[in-house]
Symmetry: C2
Subunit: 610 residues, 2 copies
């Protein structure tokens, strides 16, 4: 007998067999001299029985076992009597009558129960992660994560992708997020950087004729953390030569559909909806819209631009927009709920949020008195106003309006129960702007990264209106999360130089930062493009979790520490001397401020840059 991983797989089909089991004591009960132990391994739990009638010396040995003892046992599988069957247990129709036992190891009482749904401080779970990982929900998550990786690999292998490992010790390119640095012992005063993504290397692999590359790659960003950020994270990194955007997205749709089918059994229809960046912002107030429900934002600037409601008219006159969200059926909101709309708007940068309730045919609210009948008529039509609706209005710069109403839309959608938690709604957000204007730096910055290819038909805008250039860039959005993103890349040197000019880089700067990539353009670079999936986040969504830490075996806390191994930690002075560095004690107790004006938010929205 060497099938040892199968506590949870025993069934009536095994009745009569003698089996060996190895696992942990989940719980034990002594019923009148007969000992029942739930024995747990990776596959689940089975009840084993020690009885003086058949267990002999094994009973006394088993009697010493407590929770989380490790046992090796041997016995015969029998069918349970009808009244003792446990329908809550996969193996509940059988039990194993034990004749031999060995206590492989003892255990102290664990600091929290080894079961699902425990209410325990997360820091305790992380300190004892090796016990936390024994809990079935953590086991399921890690098994699903492993399976998801396998599905990615199998699909990509089938499409003739080559898995290539790119360096972890690489060069610092201080654009984007903060780098983690690694001092060099051999080269004093020089540093490696851990990669924020394999971006440049995967492009060089295309120059190198690999044609189709993938890697499930560890990436590093030294940013302040949130629930959905980790200092090291994993992306499924993909790059192809010779495919155009449509060909790549079609392939990635098949990949995504297969992933969701084979992990959680979900049927994902393809092709995915495609929505332009402009439409996503206009209709949903977000470039990662949750499309599980409608509740679209409507522009009403044209209707109210000459309104007596001065707040609307003045914003319209100064180039802003006025937009409305019809919160269907929310006219019943309390005064407090309505008042709370103001601080809600403020949280997203809005100066206010006008509202109108529609009850029994009557429009009420602070601004109603300023609306002309024809404006009310036009709004009724545009917003599909019905009795019981709550109309909300934001007037401001386009970005502010989008943030305010986009977040209000999510709040209302949740409140009204419009969101189907079991649905997976995918969309590609496409036609991103190539460049965004950085008001602080007074220059354009790359919205995706400096290697993103502009649309051919927009190339002439480099001369006249760089901000209007659309990029051949795309994000994959699922249920309001960005789960992937990428672009076609620039592959012609003259276009790359135009791009660097638009970013305000001198050719010297560009060459210092990306010289080896520019050099590569001179030697027959093929058209190429790719994508990266945020693997941790995909696993989070597949397992219905809301915290990335739940998807990672050994995660770090929000302050970037590993509570299990106590990393980071102090090191020997001799180690630092070898590395030609010394530490600079922090003055006082005030945390050191980030310096140098790094655009810390550049990567904020992106789980993956590809």
């Amino acid at each position: 007998m060497s099938e040892i991983i199968h506590c949870g797989r025993l069934s009536k089909a095994d009745v009569g067999k003698t089996v060996e089991l190895k696992g942990w004591v989940q719980r034990r009960r002594d019923l009148g001299g007969v000992l029942f132990i739930d024995l747990r391994d990776r596959t689940g739990i089975v009840q084993i029985v020690f009885n003086p009638d058949f267990s002999g010396d094994a009973l006394a040995i088993a009697d010493r076992a407590r929770s989380e003892f490790v046992l090796a046992v041997k016995g015969k599988v029998v069918e349970r009597e009808a009244e003792t069957r446990n329908p809550n247990l996969a193996t509940g129709e059988v039990e194993v009558r034990i004749t031999e036992i060995e206590v492989l190891n003892a255990a102290k009482t664990p600091p929290f129960p080894i079961e699902d749904g425990i209410e325990v401080d997360e820091s305790l779970r992380l300190k004892y992660r090796y016990l936390d990982l024994r809990r079935p929900e953590m086991q399921r998550t890690l098994l699903l994560r492993s399976k998801a990786a396998k599905i990615f690999r199998d699909f990509l292998d089938g499409e003739q992708f080559v898995e290539v490992e790119t360096p972890i010790l690489t060069k610092s390119t201080p654009e984007g997020a903060r780098d983690y640095l690694v001092p060099s012992r051999v080269h004093p005063e020089e540093f490696f950087a851990l990669p924020q993504s394999p971006q440049i290397f995967k492009q060089l692999l295309m120059v190198g004729g690999i044609e189709r590359y993938y890697q499930i790659a560890r990436c590093f960003r030294d940013e302040d953390l949130r629930a959905d950020r980790q200092p090291e994270f994993t992306q499924v990194d993909i790059e192809t030569s010779f495919l155009d955007q449509d060909q790549l997205l079609e392939m990635m749709e098949r990949l995504t559909a297969r992933l969701f089918k084979e992990t959680v059994g979900a049927d994902i229809p393809t092709p995915f909806q495609r929505i332009t960046y402009a439409d996503a912002i206009d209709k949903y107030g977000s470039d990662k819209p949750d499309l599980r429900f409608g509740l679209e934002i409507e522009d009403i600037t044209d209707i109210v631009k000459d309104s007596d409601a001065k707040v609307f008219a003045s914003v319209a006159a100064s180039g802003g927009v006025v937009r409305a969200l019809n919160a269907k059926g929310c006219a019943t909101w309390s005064r407090k709920e309505l008042d709370d709309l103001q601080p809600f708007a403020a949280r997203y940068g809005g100066k206010g949020l006008a509202w109108i309730t529609v009850k029994d045919g009557e429009w009420r609210g602070p601004i109603v008195k300023f609306l002309k009948p024809e404006e009310i008529q036009a709004l009724t039509e545009r917003l599909g106003v019905e009795d019981g609706d709550l109309l909300t209005f934001s007037a401001d710069k386009k970005k502010v309006v989008a943030d305010v109403l986009g977040n209000l839309r999510l709040k209302v959608g949740r409140q009204l129960g419009l969101i189907d938690d079991s649905a997976f709604k995918f969309a590609w957000v496409v036609d991103f702007p190539l460049l965004g204007w950085d008001e602080d730096a007074k220059r354009y910055v790359a919205e995706h990264h400096p290697f993103t290819r502009p649309m051919d038909e927009d190339l002439h805008l480099f001369e006249t209106d760089p901000g209007a250039i659309r990029a051949q860039a795309y994000d994959l959005v699922l249920n309001g999360y960005e789960v992937g993103g990428g672009s076609m890349r620039i592959y012609k040197r003259d276009v790359q130089e135009q791009m660097f000019q638009a970013l305000g880089f001198s050719m010297e700067e560009a060459h210092e930062k990306f010289g080896f990539l520019l050099d590569a353009f001179d030697y027959g670079t093929p058209p190429h493009g790719g994508i990266a999936f945020g693997f941790d986040r995909l696993v989070m969504l597949l397992t219905g979790r809301t915290n990335l830490r739940e998807t990672i075996a050994f995660p770090k806390t929000a302050s970037a520490t590993d509570l299990l191994s106590d990393a980071p930690s102090r090191v020997d002075l001799a180690q630092l001397q070898q590395l030609h560095i010394r530490t600079v004690p922090k003055l006082g107790s005030k945390p050191a401020q980030p310096q140098g004006g790094q655009p810390a938010e550049a990567a904020a929205g992106a789980p993956a840059q590809g």
Copy 2:
């Protein structure tokens, strides 16, 4: 048509088809107005033809193309006429008559030819790695590497292993090789370390009930480099619970056999030979013997211990050994070759190497006159002496004799052509000593690592003779290389404490270094053990290379630099300030010396510690 990756796959079966091809110009020839271009993609090369008769404008466009231009072409596959077929080309029976062309990108003349077997300085290849990677032998290597990873994964998946990612930012454990350190921005004066292996995490995963874990893991050692070392390297890292050593090795043999069958078509017989560490040292002078040939070392201490050859007798008397290697048929060596044996021995720490030639029944050599007839008789029998043999003798401490004769054995084996370059000879070296005596530190050190399980029957030796304890440790050896290694691990706290005592650690020290692992022992740790394969080295042997750099897409040089991206490099002062460190300029030009007595050689022999 979207089959675009297939230049090298066209054959007579495609004749008559219209195909689209995208690839690089390998070479071009103009024969009387007809242009022939060898077009190359990842799959190989095909000849495309431009002729005024069918190519129209495409001919003029193609005429501008030079080596490494990127072309997209469309045309009809035709059979070549008999006399123009190229038997050296897989596609040599066909050519493609081009009707449409687009130049996707131009190229400057590359710094070296894009073909196999070039004689180019390696540093130039590394600087232009993106061109080097286009060469067929590099493409083949990366494709095989990718395939090998897939085979590992598929096999392990089939055996129900779970792929788990372990942290790259982890805790420094200054035992073994030097750590790469990463300063923490959030925690001033604290550092992460890059892992030398996932050893502790994989053991914690076993404590966590994962039962079967694997990962193709990046590992980091800040050591001085050799041809077969890289600062970052890849190991296939494996750990299992509940399997004993025999079960694990049997499974790994099946894995290895499948890997070699599916990559290079080699039939590897299983089970693999097992040889004890003691026998390997005695017979082959090495713990990673090349078993493709015999030529075993023989101990003759008993024969010569009372010999008039004082060098033999005195060594024997002082506890050393006298051993001999019979270099069959080497009696013909020149005087210079025989003289060269002395510096050869010195290179491996030997004081000398005695020799005897046997020609026409006559024994000649400096020591012959000291040998009694009965000694000659005994040597003749022990060494199987025949006419034409060269007998070599080393007398010294056992380790020195092993190094000298082990290396001489390899030299003679190569010189005599005894080594079949196409053979793959595997063996497990087992029964390693648990502890080795460190003469400098005057204490025992772990031969494998401090978590290696002693043999049960040797446990009592902790009290009396720790150096004699054998470990449940094993190395996988192939053709004289160590390609994997591992051990069963200690899983009982009392044994681990005995081990730490034997290593001279106080419990405080042990707890500071490995406290979280010791804590884990208290909560039901299952018996477990594992292995790690040196993936880079396996790929090297599978592809017949002799340099690890050839197996890695973007390797580092012997001075740990990346010539392509120019890493490591200087960084902005602001970056260092954020990390609370500053650099210490090197004084003078003398390279900084490693400090603190790190046991730099601890990891020297091991491509992988598992």
